[in-house]
C-alpha cells in the first residue's frame, strides 16, 4: 500500500497528465487509427530533441533553454544543404555533419556564458536563445542578399533581401523516415527514425556509466566538492552544453526532414519551450531527468497536442479553446516547475535550518 502511494506521489505529474490526456481522448472522439498515426509521427519527430535536454540537467545546469542555438545550427546547415542541393540520406548525413562544428562552436560559447552565470543558467539560456535568434534573423533576413551575395531562386526572392519565409526541403523530405517503414493500418511507422532515437537513448544511458558521465553527475551534485576532488568543473559544464547543443542540432534536422519545409524564421522558436515542457510533463525536474521521463513526456505532451482541439470543440464548442489549452499547458508547466525550483532552492536554506539547528 505504502509502496503504491510512494510511486504515485513520485510520479504525480505524469499521472495527472495521463488522466487529462485520457479525458481528452474520451471527449475528442477521434478514431484510434488517426490518433495512433499522429502520435507515431510526433514521437518520431520530437523525441530526439527532448532527449538532448537530459545531459545538462544531470550536470546541474537545469533545463537547457539554449538548445535553440543547436536548432539554429541545424537550420543553417539545412539552408546550406538546400543551396548545394544535397539530397537523399547521404545528403542528410552530410547536413548533420555540417551542423556539428557549428553546434560545437555555439555550445562552447553558450557554455562559457553559462559559467559566468552560475545559478542563473536557465534564465541566461533563455536570453541567449533570444539573442541568437536576433543574430540569426539579422543575418538571414537582412545581410543575405545584400552584404552576403547569395543567389538561389529556391531560397531567395531576388527582388527583396533575405531568405524566403519558407524553404522547401524537398530533397531531404522524409529521407530518414522512409528508409524502412512498417505499415500498420494507415500508419507508416518510420523504423529507422525510431532506431536512431533508441540508439541515442542507449548512448545517453551508457554515457552516464562512463568516467565522463560520472564527472557530470558529480559536478551536478555539488560543484565545490567535485572541484576539490580535482574535477575540472567549468570544463565539464561547457562539455555538457556542447553535447546538448550538438544533439539539438541533429534533433532539429530530424524534425525538419520529417516536416519537409523549413519556416526560416519560426521553426526554431518553440523548440526550447516545447521540448522542455515535454520533459517536465514526463516527471523530470530542474535537477533530475531520465530517459524514461523524456520519452514518456514526449508521448503525453503530444497526445495532449493532438486531442486538445477536438476535445475543446466537443466540450466548449470551440476548437480554439483547445488550441489555447495546449499552449497554456506548455507554458504553464514550465512556469510552475521554474517557480517550484526557485521556491525550493530558496526554502532550502530554511529547510536545512529547520532541519538542523533550531530553526
Amino acid at each position: 500500500m505504502n509502496q503504491i502511494k510512494r510511486i504515485i506521489s513520485k510520479n504525480a505529474v505524469p499521472i495527472l497528465f495521463a488522466i487529462v490526456c485520457l479525458l481528452g481522448v474520451y471527449y475528442a472522439q477521434m478514431p484510434g487509427q488517426f490518433l495512433f498515426m499522429e502520435i507515431i509521427k510526433r514521437m518520431a519527430r520530437n523525441s530526439f530533441l527532448v532527449l538532448s535536454l537530459i545531459i545538462p540537467v544531470v550536470a546541474g545546469m537545469g533545463l537547457n533553454f539554449g538548445i535553440v542555438l543547436g536548432a539554429l545550427a541545424g537550420q543553417i546547415a539545412l539552408i546550406l544543404s538546400t543551396h548545394w542541393e544535397w539530397s537523399g540520406i547521404g545528403g542528410l548525413g552530410l547536413t548533420a555533419l555540417l551542423a556539428t562544428p557549428m553546434a560545437v562552436l555555439f555550445g562552447v560559447l553558450a557554455g562559457m556564458v553559462l559559467n559566468k552565470a552560475k545559478g542563473r543558467e536557465m534564465i541566461t539560456g533563455m536570453v541567449m536563445g533570444f539573442f541568437a535568434n536576433g543574430v540569426y534573423q539579422f543575418i538571414f533576413l537582412f545581410l543575405v542578399g545584400t552584404v552576403i551575395p547569395f543567389d538561389n531562386a529556391a531560397l531567395r526572392i531576388s527582388t527583396s533581401p533575405g531568405l524566403r519565409n519558407t524553404v522547401n526541403l524537398s530533397r531531404l523530405r522524409g529521407v530518414l523516415d522512409n528508409i524502412w517503414t512498417v505499415q500498420y493500418g494507415f500508419t507508416k511507422i518510420p523504423i529507422v527514425t525510431f532506431l536512431v532515437i533508441a540508439l541515442l537513448a542507449i548512448a545517453i544511458w551508457a554515457f552516464f556509466k562512463t568516467k565522463l558521465g560520472q564527472d557530470f553527475r558529480a559536478v551536478g551534485q555539488d560543484r565545490h566538492i567535485a572541484g576539490v576532488a580535482g574535477i575540472q568543473t567549468d570544463r565539464n559544464r561547457i562539455l555538457a552544453i556542447v553535447f546538448s547543443t550538438v544533439l539539438a542540432a541533429w534533433g532539429q534536422i530530424i524534425f525538419l526532414q520529417n516536416i519537409g519545409t523549413l519556416n526560416t524564421y519560426n521553426s526554431h522558436e518553440q523548440v526550447g519551450t516545447f521540448a522542455i515542457a515535454a520533459l517536465l510533463i514526463g516527471g523530470a525536474s530542474v535537477t533530475k531527468a531520465t530517459i524514461g521521463q523524456a520519452l514518456m513526456g514526449t508521448f503525453l505532451f503530444h497526445l495532449l497536442f493532438v486531442v486538445s482541439p477536438s476535445a475543446g470543440q466537443a466540450i466548449f464548442g470551440s476548437a480554439q479553446v483547445g488550441e489555447y489549452f495546449r499552449v497554456f499547458v506548455a507554458y504553464g508547466i514550465i512556469a510552475i516547475s521554474l517557480a517550484l525550483h526557485a521556491w525550493r532552492s530558496k526554502s532550502l536554506a530554511k529547510a536545512s535550518m529547520e532541519e538542523d539547528v533550531s530553526a
Partner: protein, 534 residues
Amino acid sequence: MSVPVLEMKKISKSFYGTQVLDNINLTVNEGEIHCLVGENGAGKSTLMNILFGMSVITDTGGYEGDILINGSKVAFNSPKAAIGAGIGMVHQEFMLLPGFTVAENIKLNREDTKPNPFSKIFGKKLETLNRKKMSADTRSALDKLGMNIDEWVTVAGLPVGYLQFVEIAREIDKENLQLLVLDEPTAVLTESEAKQFLEVVQKLARTGISILFITHRLDEVMAVADNITILKDGELVSSGPTESYTIAQMAELMVGRKVETSGRIGNVKSEKANEAVLEIRDLRVDMPGERLRGIDLDVYKGEILGIGGLAGHGKIALANGIMGLYASQGQVRYEGMDVPLNNPREALNLGLAFVSEDRRGVGLVLEDSIANNIVLTSMQTQNEFLKPGPLKLKDQKRIMAHALESIERFDIRCTGPEQIVRRLSGGNQQKVCIARAFTQNPKLFFVSEPTRGIDVGAKSRVLELIVELNRMGVTVVITSSELAELRSISDRIAIIYEGKLSGILAPDAPDVEYGLLMAGKSLEEVGIGERATN
C-alpha cells in the same frame, strides 16, 4: 637525513587586507605525524588550504612564501595539482556528495574504468566505470577501518561519524599518497571511534606516509604526534618534538593564558523538583546507524540532563527525533502537551531549540552575515527583531546590538557582525550556531556535541554559557561523546545502549558504573544497586 616530504617556508596570507598567517615555517618528514594546534581562527585550516591549492586561497590573491615537496618547489593552483603530487586532505567540512554512494564518493575522480569501443576512439574519459573493481577497493578500504557499512549505500542520511570514516577511506585508498592532511578529523568522532581512528593513522605513518594532523583534543596530540607546531593569531608561537611539551603548556601557548582543562563547571545543585517537563514514551527514531528502539525518559524541569553512550547506539537520535528531523514514532509530551513528531516547525514553535551535532548541515546561511544568522530563527519563529507594524521590517539596530553582544559573549573571532559566515573559521561558525540557539530564548534546549571543533580555551566558555542559560531557568538536554564534558555540567546522565536506555547516573558516579552501562550491563545485574537510577 633525507629531504623532508614537505617544507613550508615563510608562508603569509591575508584575506581582504586582514593578515591571517604571518611567516609560518613548517617541516614534515617521511612517516612523521605532525600536529598543528591553535585556537579557533588561528589559521590552521588556511595554512592547509594553501598547501592543497584550494580555490579560497587562489581566488583571494594567493599567498606568499614557498612550498617544497620532496625538496622541489611547487605552487598548487588547484586541488587537482595537489592530489597529483600525492597530497590527500580530509577537510574540516565534509567533502562527500550526498546523492552518491559510499563507493562512488571514495572513488570520486579516481574511478576505475575499463575500455570500450568508443573509449578507444574518443579517449580514456569515455571508458566505462568498473564497478566491480570500485566495489572491491572500497570494501578493502572500509575493512581497514573496521567499517562494515555497505559500499553501495547512498551517503545522504548517514550519521556524521560514518561520513568521517568514509572520507578517511577515500584518502587511504589513494595509491600515490605521501602526505595526508587531516583537518580536525576526530571532532565528529566519539572517543572510541577516535581511538580506532588514531590507530589507523599511526599504522599509515609506519608505512611511510606523512601526516599533518589538526585537532583540538590535546590528549590525542600527546598520544600520536612526533612533532607539534602551535599557531596563535596567524603566528607560529612554538614548534618542537612532542616530548618537550605537556598538555598544559600547549594549551597555554595556544591561548596565551593558563587554561583550566577539567573540573566541574555546574555546581551540583540542591535537590531539584522532580517535575517532568518532557515525557518521552516508547520513542523510536529511524536514524540510519543511530537507531533508537523505544525509550522512556523524563526530563525534569530546570535540570541539565546529559545523554551519553557509545557511537552507533542511538544517543544522538533522541534530540533529532524529538525535533522532527528523522522519522520517529512514540509519544513525546512537553509541559503536558503532545509534541507532534516529524514536524520540525511545531517543535520550534513549542519553544524547543536545537544545536545539531551535524557541523556541515548546521543550517548556517553561509553567504549571509553573522548578525543575520544569529537572529534568523528568532525572527522566523518568534517574530523577534522586527519593527512594530505590519511590514515586518528588520530592526537593524537591535539586530546589530544583539550580534555584537553575542560575538563578545561567545568570543566569536571575526572582523565584525557584518562578516559573512563562510569567512569564519570552522570553530567560529560553530559558535555562531550556538549563539543563534541562545537567541531563541528557548524553554527547553537540546544541544548535541556543543564543543565539537571548539578550542580548549573556548570550550569551557561554551559549557559555562550553557550552565548560565540553565540557571536562568532553561531545561537543557546535552548530548555528547565526551563523558568528561557531560559530567562537568549535567545533573543526571542517561546512558543509551543499543537504542534503549541503559540507566541513569549521577555525574559523580564512579567510572566503572559508566563503563558498565555503556557496555549494556545493568547495575543491578552486577550488584551495584540502584543508587543513582532515577
